[in-house]
């Protein structure tokens, strides 16, 4: 293989690996947000869930010595934050976006504060599945070291799509999301459904945080999330509230995040600021594209009504 070819192969493998490694937290947060938004509420606070989940997951994994208990703890933290969001939002004249921003700031600050003693210790990491064992290319083997959480996420997307489309509960969430009045006429408890959807969404975002601290990049530090939770929320709009599209979009964003570093690693050194900014540029482009009315077709009715 010529040098040039192997370089492009490296970039390709890095983007593939990045899609899987960097994309997993996006996937969990966006699925969580998708679930919450389907019930007619926006929870911008998932960035807070992600960071709190990362911190709590790391702390519990370190104390108990079990990474999977850490994942559970991260999810539980997300449930608590989701509960607070839902509880506040069902009060009269409370704006869910404002509550979300407040919870994002609370979650971030709280995680930094409680997480102080967790920066130094090394907690057990989540195990990886070596799906690339058949290849003798070490780069490909590394890219195909896949975490079980990624597989859970990938299976979760079609499961959620089926849940919305074909299950009784999914119908309840969609109804609540489309119209309060119609849901009440059907005898559904609007606030109850929304609370459950927000808590479940919070759980998923918390698990996404555990992936960050317990697998990739691993370790707890205050720069760990740097806005990934917010980008995942934007991604849901691009995905038109469709879980399968959330999956594709997460992989796309993950790959875009890996592009900048990998291009520099093979010696393409021009324009690295631009390539490093690729995920953000992508977010902006998608938001502009998504603001056209055609794309908003999948939007839950009670979100569109505002």
């Amino acid at each position: 293989m010529s040098g040039e070819e192997s370089q492009w192969l490296t970039v390709l493998i890095a983007v593939l690996g990045g899609a899987i490694r960097v994309g997993t937290p996006f996937l969990f947060v966006s699925l969580g947000e998708c679930l919450t938004e389907k019930s007619g509420r926006i929870n911008l606070g998932l960035e807070g869930n992600l960071i709190m989940g990362a911190m709590a997951g790391y702390g519990v994994a370190w104390i108990t010595g079990s990474a999977w208990l850490g994942v559970l703890a991260a999810g539980a933290t997300g449930v608590v934050l989701g509960f607070v969001h839902a509880l506040l939002c069902q009060q009269p004249r409370v704006n869910d976006i404002a509550v979300g921003i407040a919870l994002m700031i609370l979650g971030t600050g709280l995680a930094f504060f409680i997480g102080k003693p967790l920066i130094q210790p090394t907690a057990p990491h989540l195990p990886a599945l070596h799906l690339g064992a058949w290849s003798d290319n070490p780069a490909l083997r590394a890219a195909l070291e896949i975490n079980a959480l990624f597989i859970v996420g990938v299976l979760l997307a079609p499961a959620m799509a089926w849940f919305f489309k074909s299950s009784r509960w999914g119908l309840a969430i969609r109804t609540v999301g489309e119209s309060d009045d119609a849901a009440r006429a059907m005898g559904l408890n609007v606030n109850g459904v929304r609370m459950l959807a927000t808590m479940a969404g919070g759980f998923l975002a918390g698990v996404g945080g555990a992936f960050l601290s317990l697998y990739y990049p691993g370790g707890w530090s205050e720069g760990l999330s740097s806005g990934q939770g917010l980008m995942a929320v934007a991604l849901v709009i691009f995905a038109r509230w469709d879980p399968m599209r959330c999956l594709y979009a997460s992989l796309l964003f993950g790959g875009a995040g890996a592009l900048g570093p990998s291009l520099q690693a093979v010696g393409v050194t021009s324009g690295y600021y631009l390539f490093n900014a690729a995920p953000y540029v992508l977010t902006l482009i998608l938001m502009i594209a998504a603001s056209s009315t055609k794309v908003r077709s999948g939007m839950p009715g009670s979100l569109a009504a505002r």
Binding site: G18, I119, Q120, G218, G223, S226, S270, Y272, N276
Partner: protein
């Protein structure tokens, strides 16, 4: 609880600066304020009070931890009172924090340790407090332009990076080294150049692949960069970011070697850790305190490397060969004597331009080196994006 107290301090600091501007108008209020301040200063006068500000957390396994370790070492002295604040952003927040340390804790000297604190923040506050010394960690001070009570200190950590480069050069099998750096500023470029020249002094065929992540703390990008470099065949990684933890851990996970930076990361990579460049701030902080206690004039500019005790190398890892150790120790001894010159012509940059002609050399203290904007031959990377 601690945060609440801090916020109150900051608010109080704003109040004070507002009162400062009203000085001429409100004589009565001023009298009360001066009285209050007088008491604070009298208590502080018995001790040397020093204030430290860090841009990140105290225990980040990196840059901020190195400063915090220096501060903690001197805080053990009974005659020194050292106060510090972490996570101070490079915004007006650092001005408030500095004023609060001066007005409430009675700090006689302030150490704003982050690069971005200097301009405009230190330059704005320093003229307001002519009796307080502001010592910035970095290379931005200029005696012709800046106030007399401002100064700077910095270690020639590139000397220790040079030692890392020697060890890396001896250890690498693929001849490809990787450098993950935040932003192409002179101090970063100088480290990359030193590392490269040291490795190439062992094996002239070695190349160093640079990735700029664009920020001082971005764990996901650092991990991605490390993985891409390793995929590309790099077998020794080092970095210049705030916390090398992610890079060193990723290298260990992927089974390649790593050199640390800022603080000791040997614990993070028991198999692949080679050595690292570390700061040794406790010495200079103690020197400053002694100067203040003896009422000596504090020099505006302090620089130093191995010889002055400002930098050190992390202990060698298990995999470092005896030959590499001998070579590294020899060069370190030359640094200690002060007769090793890294930047000795002819030196070409990586575009083929001759930057230092034959016969010309720049000693360690030469200010020209602090304006570096080029990458030496053997580096794969660009200073401008």
């Amino acid at each position: 609880m601690k945060n609440t107290k801090l916020d109150m301090q900051q608010d109080y600091a704003i109040d004070q600066s507002r009162r400062g501007t009203l000085k001429g108008l409100a004589g009565l209020g001023l009298g009360a304020l001066a009285g209050g301040l007088g008491i604070g200063n009298a208590v502080a006068a018995s001790k040397v009070t020093m204030g430290f500000l860090y841009v990140g957390p105290r225990d980040d396994y990196g840059y901020n931890q190195a400063h915090f370790e220096g501060k903690s070492a001197i805080a053990k002295q009974s005659w020194i009172k050292a106060v510090d604040q972490e996570n101070v952003p490079e915004t007006i927040a650092v001005q408030k924090a500095m004023e609060s340390m001066i007005n409430l804790d009675g700090a006689q000297v302030i150490f704003p340790t982050s690069f971005g604190y200097f301009d405009p923040h230190i330059l704005k506050i320093a003229p307001k407090y002519p009796d307080v010394m502001f010592l910035h960690c970095g290379g931005l001070y200029d005696a012709n332009k800046h106030p007399k009570n401002v100064g700077s200190y910095f270690g020639y950590i590139d000397e220790a990076v040079y030692i890392s480069g020697i060890v890396a050069g001896h250890t690498s099998k693929t001849g490809k080294l990787g450098y993950i750096a935040a932003i192409p500023i002179p101090q970063v470029l100088r480290n990359i150049n030193n590392f490269t020249m040291a490795a190439r002094s062992v094996n002239p065929k070695i190349t160093v692949q640079v990735v700029f992540t664009g920020g001082w703390s971005n764990p996901v990008k650092e991990a991605e960069s490390a993985n891409s470099l390793i995929d590309q065949g790099v077998d020794v990684l080092t970095c210049h970011v705030d916390s090398p933890k992610v890079v060193v851990e990723t290298a260990e996970k992927r089974g390649v070697f790593s050199c640390g930076y800022h603080a000791d990361q040997s614990k993070l990579a028991p198999k692949g850790f080679l050595t690292g460049a570390e700061w040794n701030w406790s010495k200079i902080y103690l020197d400053y305190a002694t100067m203040i206690a003896k009422k000596q004039k504090i020099p505006n500019l302090i620089r130093g490397g191995f010889k002055e005790g400002l930098v050190k190398s992390s202990p060698y890892g298990k995999v470092v060969s005896a030959k590499a150790k001998a070579h590294a120790d020899k060069v370190r001894a030359q640094f200690m004597k002060g007769d090793f010159v890294v930047y000795q012509g002819p030196i070409k940059d990586n575009t083929g331009r001759e930057v230092i002609p034959k016969g010309k050399s720049y000693g360690q203290t030469d200010y020209w080196l602090e304006t570096m904007d080029w990458l030496v031959e053997g580096v794969v990377g660009k200073t401008k994006g």
